[in-house]
Symmetry: C2
Subunit: 185 residues, 2 copies
């Protein structure tokens, strides 16, 4: 089964969303996958290697999301689609793996920090572009430049996922609706 690697990455991603990169162990992971720690090390010699692999997959998914997003003609639909897709990747009480590793920024390996920065920027840029296009075609209304608005929307979305953990989990939908209508209406 060559897809062992893929399976490991999948479970590791779930763990990062649940516990964080630093707080899941090769022992946890090996048990969840059903192999030994040694086998895990065979596939990903160091935990750092696994971390990089996880981030590469996420990066690929985001690039794919960008493609799919711009296949949609209508700006409002496009915006909703993007957030719905993002929301779909995190289960209840999980957090965004990027947020998780932003929180751990000072304790993760340097190579991971670089990738996290890239991905963080990519996300905001994607939203910025969606907003710019939507403003031009008259779908969205906001003051200031698109990047600032994108920043507020993205940080609010990420922050809301985080907050859902410790308060009522309905707040994510509330916030999501709020930030979308703030530019659409």
């Amino acid at each position: 089964m060559e897809d062992r690697k893929g399976q490991i990455i999948q479970v590791a991603t779930d763990f990062i969303k649940k516990y964080g990169y630093d707080s899941f162990s090769y022992k946890d992971l090996s048990e969840a996958v059903g192999i030994t720690k040694a086998t895990l090390h065979h596939h990903f010699a160091k935990k750092e290697d696994l971390g990089i692999a996880v981030l590469q997959v996420i990066q690929g998914q985001l690039e794919y999301l960008k493609e799919k997003t711009f296949e949609i003609e209508d700006s409002k639909e496009r915006l909703t689609f993007m957030f719905e897709c993002m929301k779909g990747t995190v289960q209840e009480k999980d957090i965004c793996p990027i947020s998780s590793m932003q929180a751990e920024f000072n304790v993760i390996p340097d190579s991971l920090r670089g990738k996290i920065s890239e991905i963080s920027t990519f996300e905001v840029d994607l939203l910025t572009q969606i907003l710019e296009v939507g403003k031009k075609d008259g779908s969205f209304h906001f003051e200031g430049d698109a990047k600032n608005t994108a920043l507020i929307m993205m940080t609010s979305y990420k922050g809301a996922i985080m907050y859902s953990r410790s308060v009522e989990s309905t707040i994510l939908d509330t916030v999501l609706e709020g930030i979308i209508t703030s530019v659409v209406k």
Copy 2:
């Protein structure tokens, strides 16, 4: 020196903001404070006890902030004051200790989770009240209820601190200005 306890709490809080609760050790802390691990255990038998102490101090500071905040007459000034105070407690490249522990929610002791939930709720409630008063006296303009707006503002603020870590750190000020003017103008 009875204030050893206070000193330990102070340094522990800094560590949580920099590395997270799970990722700083009694060894790190003992070296930073200048005492041995054993002495640390004398003051706070378990790491969990220290965690609770840290959160109690934060809770107290927030209650004090609420008092001070409502001593200010003008709604706009009050809102700015609150965010400036909050911002003042986190150094560049640190994150809010509450965000930090929200990210670690599934790996911290139960007693800490409870406190985190309380504090998270308190913060949003404080902002909600500021917004409600300001809407009534005509200082603020926003649609929907104050709680939703407070949620968006608070999650955006917290998310921005987080994002500053991995992208340009100027985004915090950008976002802060954005969310304040969104209700003030």
